[in-house]
């Protein structure tokens, strides 16, 4: 019956209530495109603006800031957060949340080191650690999509369970492996090494970000992620297998968290069972600062990365300017408030425009 859907432009001309038509159908300008996606642009623009302001401020305030060592350091220090935040963006867009990522990163790191200590080579250990993260994500996803538990409660439980199991296994003591494998010349390259002067961690992050970007904006999975977060019932009634996609999203986050746990190991050289306490909050904060809405349906990869590095710059700057550690947290808390306040402000503006 497709043939019945004919294209008739003249049908529009005798409408009763004329609408302002800025552009004719064929020639839509960039200006119009920008205006349609204004919401996203404003969110990203604000995060980018804040990032630039902080960057310029720190360049003047600290002589050390603009050195390549420091800049590379910022990137390397925030890679773990950023990798997890890529996955968290998917989860938050579905109106979900995952509080278990800090514990999972610690668990997968410990697991990887243990495997190396038992004579595995690092690629094998890395693979198993990533898959272990995926298993945790699968657990979260099953409880959330099939047992229909609330994501907050589910992952709060998972956070405690995974941390507990890690502590039981390690007795809360650091695990170590042979430095011949985990040292800076071998596995350490991932977190600390450079190829042609470019940090390997940065390369990994760029590749994953590009993948995540395309996944989110150009594939079925990405579109359904937005649709589920925007209106889960509408998605279901449109024939989207909601549970399957929810499950996939939590598994993706789990896999990325497993990888992040191993990147941390590569930087630290050890398996630290206490790693990542509070990491989930930085990750969620970065995602929200980047324009994702905890109510779902909104968020972008670019925004999330901007959020990660805004927090990263603030932390780095605080160290350089000798600001008290605890004060850093106060500053970041205030930034989160500002981000959410700004988000609400623009949302109200948009909704008042539409009424």
């Amino acid at each position: 019956m497709k043939d019945t859907i004919g294209s008739t432009n003249e049908a529009i001309s005798h409408e009763a209530t004329p609408v302002p038509r800025e552009q004719s159908t064929g020639q839509r300008t960039i200006v119009l495109r920008v205006r349609e996606r204004l919401g996203d642009f404003i969110a990203q623009g604000t995060a980018a603006g804040a990032l630039i302001v902080v960057f310029i401020f720190l360049s003047f305030a600290s002589p050390v800031f603009l050195t390549s060592n420091n800049l590379i350091n910022i990137i390397e220090q925030n890679t773990v957060t950023a990798v997890i935040a890529l996955g968290m963006t998917f989860v938050i867009i579905t109106a979900g949340i995952d509080l278990s990522v800090g514990s999972t990163a610690a668990m997968t790191g410990v697991l990887g080191v243990e495997l190396v200590a038992h004579g595995w080579n690092w690629p094998q250990a890395l693979l198993v650690a990533v898959l272990a993260g995926g298993v945790v994500g699968l657990g979260n996803g099953l409880l959330i999509s099939f047992a229909r538990l609330n994501p907050f409660i589910t992952t709060l439980g998972m956070m405690t369970v995974v941390r507990g199991l890690t502590d039981v296994y390690t007795n809360a003591v650091v695990v170590v492996g042979p430095s011949s494998v985990l040292g800076p010349d071998n596995f350490g390259v991932i977190g600390l090494g450079k190829i042609a002067g470019i940090p390997v961690a940065l390369m990994i992050l760029v590749v994953l970000s590009v993948l995540a970007y395309f996944l989110l904006s150009h594939t079925r999975l990405g579109r359904y992620t937005y649709a589920i977060g925007s209106n889960q019932e509408a998605a279901r009634l449109s024939g989207i297998p909601v549970r399957k996609y929810l499950l996939a999203v939590y598994v993706i986050l789990g896999l990325l968290t497993g990888l992040a746990g191993m990147i941390a190991v590569s930087r630290l050289g050890i398996g630290e069972p206490n790693f990542g306490i509070g990491l989930e909050l930085d990750v969620i904060a970065a995602t929200v600062i980047g324009g994702a809405s905890l109510f779902g349906g909104q968020g972008t990869i670019i925004g999330t990365l901007l959020g990660v590095f805004l927090i990263g710059l603030i932390r780095d700057g605080s160290v350089l300017l000798d600001i008290n550690d605890f004060m850093q947290n106060v500053i970041i808390g205030v930034v989160i408030w500002l981000a959410v306040l700004w988000d609400q402000f623009r949302r109200r503006r948009i909704s008042s425009l539409s009424s």
Partner: protein, 502 residues
């Protein structure tokens, strides 16, 4: 009822409301007298609701003033308006669902003794007020267990509790059955006898003539006319609302039926549906009539796989289908437009194109073909006359009628041959309504089987070729076009003729 000699209770003088980019209310002057029902009519987007929000101080005017008994009032907040005696009964109810009826009625004005809430006084007061609005329910009931009509009565009781002099009702009948509407109207008349003035927002023509003393018609934020009811007839009112003549609200093309498209046999769902069977032919428009809660929506949802069924079979063009979820129904060629498009139809944060392709994404190996998506959306926009300069706008900024067309477009993209329309005209203005019904007629004449569910009998009577009537989950009767009368339908819908209840 309006005593024209006395002073108006409330006067709005040259009041305007500017939203960014839109002048929603444009220098409007209006007045209302004690004991008067003043209907504010107009299409969606005409500025009626915004005007009332200015009056109830939810919004602040950009210009102009409001006089109460000749005194200019200050704009503070909705609580201030309540204290002045202006109460609003919202379109979407503003009750706390987990509190009791009594707690809701006195909410914000609890009487306390030494800081303790006086529960007995609260319940007594509630009982007295419920009696006034003719609602025989226990004040201790939790609000979420009440029907929509009952909740509305609780809202009105709340207005009585603050001794409102002016009650504003924003499309109060949108989700009510005819009996409930009749009850509402008798309560409204009870209010006016007490000297309470009622602003009544509506675009339902028949009820405007039933309830109004005076009618103000708004269009594009301006008042087009304010007239006593006796100076108006249906054609004139439509002309004022739309700005042109609409000769036929329900353009129904002559039907030509093909073979049986959809056959449903013995669908049952414990406690909800009992042995429901029906069939629809290609090109036919079948109506589901019945009171709210009679199982009309539930039957559609069951066929569509949205809810599980305990028994029954579904056949499409003679082939038995196995439908366990909407996925199966869509694959077979069945589409369902939900009764509440905001709640379970649209993805509000997605754009128009993305909403149109939601049920049938154009992909190549999981990758979305964005160009094709845009082509599909533009074609749908032109065919269904979706009024938007761009298909990449958020669907949230569209009017109700255009949002409904987006959902129709979505189902056309799935190549659905059977389409269920559940209350498609809800929240849509007169103009968009006749367009929508024209479209439904066209879809049928192109050989689709259409099922139309509506609470509004004139819609069913004019649009359908055949009606089935439901009552408490059972099909109580079937009527052919030509046999339709409101009386016959209501008789079947109530099961038997007795039992006039709220």
């Amino acid at each position: 009822m309006a005593a024209t000699e006395q002073m108006p209770l409330v006067q709005l003088v040259n009041i305007s409301k500017q939203f960014p980019g839109v002048l929603a209310v444009d220098t409007v002057s209006l007045d209302i007298f004690p004991g008067e029902v003043h209907v504010v009519a107009g299409e969606n987007g005409a500025g009626k609701s915004t005007l009332m929000k200015l009056l109830s101080q939810v919004e602040r005017p950009s210009a102009g003033k409001v006089l109460l008994n000749g005194q200019e009032v200050a704009f503070v907040n909705p609580q201030h308006a309540q204290r002045l005696g202006i109460a609003m009964v919202y379109q979407e109810f503003a009750l706390a669902p987990h509190l009791t009826v009594a707690q809701n009625i006195v909410l914000g004005r609890e009487s306390t003794r030494f800081g303790r809430i006086d529960k007995r006084a609260e319940v007594e007061q509630a009982r007295r007020l419920l009696q006034q609005v003719g609602l025989k329910i226990d004040p201790g009931r939790i609000v979420s267990t009440l029907s929509v009509a009952e909740q509305q009565m609780v809202e009105i009781a709340k207005a009585l509790d603050i001794e409102a002099k002016l009650v504003i009702m924003d499309e109060p009948t949108a989700t009510l059955t005819d009996q409930e509407i009749a009850h509402l109207f008798s309560v409204i008349r009870g209010l006016t006898v007490q000297g309470i003035a009622v602003f009544y927002i509506s675009h339902r023509l028949d009820e405007i003539f039933q309830i109004a003393d005076r009618v103000t018609v708004m269009r594009d934020g301006k008042v087009v006319a304010t007239l006593p009811r006796s100076d108006l007839d249906q054609q004139k009112l439509i002309r004022l609302m739309v700005g042109r003549d609409i000769h036929n609200l329900y353009p129904k093309p002559a039907s030509e039926f093909g073979s049986v498209m959809l056959r449903v046999e013995g669908i049952s769902r414990r406690g909800i549906l009992h042995q429901c069977s029906f069939e629809v032919r290609a090109g036919e428009i079948l109506g589901f009539a019945g009171l709210i809660g009679s199982g009309r929506t539930e039957l559609a949802r069951a066929v569509f796989g949205a809810d599980p069924i305990d028994a029954g079979s579904i056949w499409l063009e003679g082939k038995r289908l196995s439908i366990n979820s909407p996925v199966d129904a869509i694959a077979a060629g069945i589409g369902y437009l939900t009764e509440d498009r905001k709640r379970d139809g649209l993805a509000m944060t997605l754009d128009i194109a993305q909403n149109i392709t939601l049920a049938n994404l154009p992909t190549v190996a999981s990758w979305i073909d964005l160009r094709k998506e845009e082509r599909i959306a533009l074609r749908a926009r032109d065919r269904l006359k979706i009024r938007t300069p761009s298909v990449h706008r958020k669907v949230a900024v569209l009017s109700g009628g255009n949002q409904q067309k987006v959902i129709v477009a979505r189902w056309l993209e799935t190549q659905a041959r059977v389409l269920f329309f559940d209350e498609p005209s809800r929240g849509i203005d007169v103009n968009a309504k006749s367009e929508l019904f024209e479209l439904i007629g066209t879809l049928a004449s192109e050989g689709r089987a259409i099922v139309l569910i509506s609470s509004y009998l004139p819609e069913l009577i004019n649009m359908c070729d055949r009606l089935i009537v439901l009552h408490e989950g059972r099909i109580t009767g079937e009527l052919q076009r030509g046999e339709f009368t409101e009386e016959r339908i209501m008789t079947l819908a109530t099961g038997i003729t007795e039992g006039v209840m709220l």
